[in-house]
């Protein structure tokens, strides 16, 4: 009885043990073809700097190429530059890795080539240190102080004898830094504007970056997201907020064909914050069309069309098309030009008196903000401020006995209905003022506190300053009802003795100064890129206003007006603003010398 039972159980066990269970090893099972291959082929790359041998034995071209060699992806910058350096001297250039790679951007001055007896050439190049181009695309203030770099050139042909055209040249005794000329920066980098939220999260503030053109455009989204994750430029930090701490991009931002995927590891699940991030991304991606799928820790957010998002969330909601005004005989008058809109003076006639210079701004609900410098008693000036919806009829005047000089005031524009504030320079001191024309000094962390000009960007979070003959930009923090200016960043320019400044674009300043003779330059917000606008001015510019073009309002760019030697001019076409442009003035009797319109400005 027991034996068969045992046998039966044993049989079952053996059968089961031998027959089933997951095998320890199986045959390879093929499930079919993998996903379709990515189209092979060349990535669409932008221009890359020429190689060492491209210049042949032409010293000048070779040096130009050498000073361009660092451009491109920072990972291989040292590799590219070392290709130019003679093998025996390569060790002189010490490698840095990762985020420490920084390029010394220099504005080239005069170069002296001296042929030596050993058939090498010594090169002396005068430079102006513009800044450090970091791996994250920002141009930081310069660290190096050299004003001249020396290095040698030798032929790459083996015995150093006859210069072989094809062998090219080598750099010997190279400088121990990566140098990049300003022309190379212009040529091999694409400047990009990305945006960060202002510290009160009410508006987007532009920040300037440089993307190597060697980076394929497919990676643009990836680069932009990395920049955003990396945070704003140092000088901008007081006025803006970056992404939440410890935010990381998970792998690469991918996509193509109008659909982009960004996966972020970001703390906080505030839907409003995520929505703002999407807006930030949409504007930071420039005019990139397509759909954006943002994932926060793999949680997909609703897909957003980038163009629609930009259309629905304007960068500068209250910036209408500009109208030109000027001061004529102590009163503000519209200036009429064909093909341009012009309006009436939004000031009651009784307050439109004794005006020296003025700024009119449009705030929310088309409220008029007026800030004017008016003549007071004893040849002193006062600030007069007034607001109103259609017309400003009451002005508040600054207290005290007035100032010996007051620059043109500027409004710090806001998008909400908070009381507006402005900045003005009076007697070399920067003041903020409110709608009641109360003025409070604003401390500045500058070696020379003698401020001569101030200009506010359209976003109201950045200002440009001229202090002690130097040009600065700084971030503005409007938190808590006050106005504080962050540490100013000096811009290294070719211009000397800047006299007037205004914002010509989101990331460009229009600066009047001197390059031997008075000139007007357009200078990027980091000082690296300069474009001369006028170099043929006969007199010093003491008043300069520009309409800052931006991506929300598409108007002809480069509209600026200035006053030099008591005569007002306008740009595009560049011409003098003569009295015939001034509307609403009585005809000048014959024989009487007409006065000139002065202190022109834009209402926007």
């Amino acid at each position: 009885m027991r034996r068969p039972t045992l046998l039966g159980a044993l049989g079952v066990m053996v059968l089961l043990g031998a027959g089933c269970g997951i095998p320890a090893q199986s045959e390879v099972r093929v499930d079919g073809k993998g996903s379709a291959a990515t189209e092979a082929g060349v990535i669409s790359r932008g221009s890359e700097p020429p190689t060492r041998t491209a210049a042949g034995s032409d010293n000048v071209a070779f040096v130009r190429n050498f000073l361009s060699a660092a451009s491109g992806e920072p990972d291989r910058a040292y590799e590219r530059v070392k290709a130019f350096i003679a093998p025996e001297d390569k060790s002189r250039l010490q490698d840095k890795k990762g985020s420490e790679v920084a390029l010394n951007v220099v504005r080239l001055g005069e170069a002296i080539y001296t042929l030596n007896s050993d058939s090498t050439t010594t090169v002396k190049i005068a430079v102006q240190q513009i800044g450090m181009l970091r791996a994250n695309g920002t141009l930081a203030p310069p660290v190096a102080t050299e004003t001249e770099y020396d290095f040698g050139l030798r032929s790459a042909s083996f015995n150093g004898g006859v210069n072989d055209e094809r062998a090219g040249l080598y750099v010997i005794d190279p400088p121990n830094v990566l140098l990049l000329s300003d022309t190379a920066l212009r040529q091999y980098y694409q400047d990009e504007t990305i945006y960060f939220w202002s510290s009160d999260r009410s508006r987007l503030v532009p920040d300037q970056r440089y993307r190597p053109q060697a980076v394929p455009v497919e990676r643009r989204v990836n680069e932009v997201v990395k920049w955003l994750v990396g945070g704003p430029s140092d000088w901008l930090r007081p006025g803006v907020v970056g992404l939440p701490d410890r935010t990381e991009l998970i792998n690469n931002a991918t996509g193509g064909n109008g659909r982009w995927e960004v996966n972020l590891d970001m703390s906080g699940d505030d839907q409003n914050g995520i929505d703002q991030l999407i807006t930030q991304l949409a504007w930071s991606l420039g005019d990139l069309p397509g759909q954006l799928e943002l994932k926060i820790r793999n949680n997909a957010q609703p897909v957003v069309d980038l163009g629609e998002r930009r259309d629905s969330w304007a960068l500068y909601p209250h910036a209408a098309s500009p109208q030109r005004f000027g001061v004529y005989d102590g009163a503000i008058h519209p200036l009429d030009f064909e093909g341009e809109p012009s309006g009436t003076v939004p000031l009651a006639p009784e307050v439109n008196r004794n005006v020296v210079s003025a700024t009119l701004g449009l705030a929310k609900d088309r409220r008029i903000l007026a800030a004017m410098v008016v003549t007071g008693s004893k040849n002193r000036y006062q600030l007069a401020v007034g607001t109103g919806t259609e017309q400003v009829s009451v002005l508040s005047r600054s207290g005290g006995t007035g100032y010996a000089s007051i620059s043109r005031p500027v409004w710090l524009r806001t998008v909400d209905s908070r009381p507006s504030r402005g900045l003005v320079v009076a007697d070399g001191q920067l003041y903020r003022f409110d709608e009641a024309a109360r003025m409070y000094p604003v401390p500045l962390n500058l070696p020379s506190a003698a401020v001569t000009a101030v200009a506010a960007a359209l976003d109201g979070q950045r200002v440009a300053l001229i202090a002690g003959g130097r040009l600065y930009v700084a971030a503005v923090n409007l938190d808590g009802g006050g106005v504080s200016i962050g540490p100013p960043r000096e811009l290294v320019t070719s211009l000397t003795n800047p006299t007037a400044v205004d914002w010509g674009r989101e990331d460009q300043l229009v600066v009047a100064g001197s390059v031997g003779q008075p000139a007007i330059y357009e200078i990027s917000v980091d000082g690296a890129l300069e474009t001369p606008l006028r170099t043929d001015l006969g007199a010093k510019v003491n008043h300069l206003t520009a309409y800052p073009t931006n991506r929300s309002v598409r108007t002809p760019s480069g509209a600026y007006m200035y006053e030099a030697n008591g005569v007002a001019y306008r740009s595009s076409p560049s011409e003098r603003i003569d009295p015939s442009r001034v509307r609403g003035i009585a005809p000048v009797p014959a024989g009487v010398r007409p006065s000139n319109p002065s202190a022109p400005f834009f209402l926007y």
Partner: protein, 559 residues
């Protein structure tokens, strides 16, 4: 050892043969084990297949998604040498592995680049050496652009585990890299083992249950059958009042009831027959006794007449002689009847004593010498020279011999009668051979019947009673011996009496042959080198027999 094994096997075989219950239970167990085992195998196999398939489809989906993701991630790079490619691969692997290298799901994600071993390093997350687990065949399949999988056992992060390795090619702009998912099958393995254990336990329990059930049912059936068998044994042993216990109304109860009824009927019949038989024997005995008294009187009168017969006229004297002879026979018949009725009544007693049979044979031959001489039959003896001692009742043995020899002489037809005495360790035997008309086929049993005659019409010369052989048979049986006859037409007959040498012993063999050495073969074949004749028989059949004597005619058959 082999002896013990043989003993065990023998016992098992015996048990198997003897016990219906063991057979039924064994068959049930074996059959149900096979059945349950088969089902268990199927179920366990199915469960394993389902588990594996589900794991496969799961991993397949992950690997497809992962490969798409990885393809997107590396699509920026046009060359395997690009600096950030390795970083991207690291990030991709970490991302696909769930981002957190500390997590312990055990899944290992790996990206390899077999085509670019110098530019791209293999990356896994969590860090493990997967190269040994990914077989060359799998690599070859992936390198061929296929999505493929394989199960392998190995050790990556913890203990040795079975891994489902799924690989997929990841297309890039510069060629192909490979994405592998190594998913431990520990959970599936445990689940499969659990399922298997459950199925086995259930199967074993089922088999045991079936065995017990079979044992129970068989017991229910077998027990009454055993009781019936025992009862039948007792009944056959004469305990006619044995009955089965009948419980309930089922088939077994019906069997018991029928059995009991049969037993009752048999008992009644047997009792009736016994009673009848007893009455019959009583009657015979009574009649014999009752006849004896008048016969004694008649005998005395007849003896008187017979003594005075010389004084009568010859015809009356002849009648007196006839009367005397028939009275002898009548007395003899009466004696035999009484003897038979004693046997029937079971009163016959054996009076065994060690006896030398040789004098007994001589005595019988002497007593029948007169008759033999009269009918001209010579009696030949073949006796051993030594005494033949056996524990027998000499009176009965002598009666048997007298009867046999008398019959032989009577049917001897003037041919010699041979009496042979044989002995071995256990038995003694006496054969009596005559060469008379012999016995027809079947008559060797009939000769022992009471009042049987081979030829009813034949006149009885010696006035035998017809009971002699019956009494002899009873005598032989009383000794525990045998009395057998052989005969063939025309060849005479031989009777053999075999008795145990010691009273009460069982006989197994006889020292002498029943069929005499000179007897013809059953079909009358040739003897002692004689020829066989084949010729036409009756009814068109072929007759095969011995060649007729003195014919001398021979036919040579040549092939």
């Amino acid at each position: 050892m082999s002896g013990r094994v043989a003993g065990v096997v023998g016992r098992a075989h015996q048990t198997w043969r003897r016990s219906l219950q063991v057979r039924v239970v064994t068959i049930t167990l074996v059959a149900s084990s096979l059945l349950v085992g088969g089902f268990a195998f199927l179920i366990a196999d199915k469960i394993t297949t389902i588990l594996l398939d589900s794991a496969r489809s799961d991993v397949r989906q992950r690997v497809t998604t992962g490969a798409n993701y990885a393809a997107k991630q590396v699509s920026f790079y046009g060359q395997a040498q690009e600096a950030q490619l390795q970083e991207t691969i690291d990030g991709t692997v970490n991302y696909l592995a769930g981002g957190d290298p500390q997590q312990t799901s055990g899944v290992v994600v790996a990206i390899t680049a077999d085509d670019y071993p110098n530019d791209i390093q293999t990356r896994t997350s969590p860090s493990a050496n997967v190269q040994s687990l990914i077989s060359p065949e799998l690599r070859a399949a992936i390198a061929d652009g296929k999505v493929a999988s394989q199960i392998r056992t190995g050790r990556l992060t913890g203990e040795t585990t079975k891994y489902l390795i799924y690989g997929s090619p990841v297309p890039t702009r510069f060629g192909q890299i490979e994405l592998y998912y190594l998913v431990p099958l520990g959970r599936q393995d445990v689940t499969a083992a659990d399922a298997r254990a459950t199925v086995v336990a259930t199967g074993v329990a089922l088999v045991i249950l079936l065995g017990l059930l079979a044992a129970l049912v068989t017991r229910l059936v077998v027990n009454p059958v055993r009781v019936a068998a025992r009862t039948a044994q007792r009944l056959s042993a004469g305990l006619l009042d044995q009955r089965m216990v009948v419980n309930g109304e089922d088939d077994l109860a019906l069997l018991g009831a029928s059995f009991n009824q049969m037993a009752t009927n048999l008992q009644r019949q047997i009792l009736r027959l016994e009673e009848m038989s007893r009455l019959q024997r009583r009657f015979t005995s009574d009649v014999s006794h009752e006849l004896r008294t008048p016969l004694t009187t008649v005998r005395m009168a007849a003896d008187l007449i017979f003594a005075e017969r010389d004084e009568f006229d010859p015809a009356v004297a002849r009648s007196a002689e006839l009367l005397q002879a028939e009275l002898d026979r009548f007395e003899e018949l009466l004696t035999d009847l009484l003897e038979i009725s004693r046997f029937d009544a079971g009163f016959a007693m054996l009076d065994s004593e060690p006896t030398d049979l040789v004098p007994v044979v001589h005595r019988v031959v002497d007593r029948l010498a007169g008759l033999a001489e009269r009918v001209g039959v010579p009696i030949e003896l073949d006796l051993p020279g030594t005494p033949v001692i056996a524990e027998v009742d000499p009176r009965r043995v002598e009666r048997v011999l007298r009867n046999l020899v008398g019959n032989a002489v009577e049917h001897g037809e003037a041919r010699p009668v041979l009496i042979t005495l044989g002995i071995d360790e256990t038995a003694v035997a006496i054969t009596v051979r005559d060469h008379g008309v012999g016995l027809k086929v079947g008559e060797e049993k009939l000769v022992f019947n009471r009042f049987w005659r081979a030829d009813p019409s034949r006149a009885r010369q010696t006035g035998g009673t017809g009971l002699g052989l019956s009494i002899s048979l009873e005598d032989a049986r009383l000794h525990g011996g045998w009395l057998e006859a052989w005969g063939a037409p025309g060849q005479g007959a031989q009777f053999r009496l075999t008795l145990p040498a010691r009273a009460g012993d069982r006989l197994t063999t006889s020292p002498l042959r029943l069929v005499p050495a000179d007897a013809a073969l059953p079909f009358g074949g040739p003897r002692d080198g004689g020829t066989l004749a084949i010729g036409p028989g009756t009814g068109g059949a072929l007759a095969i027999g011995p060649t007729p004597a003195g014919d001398g005619q021979r036919t040579e058959v040549h092939s």
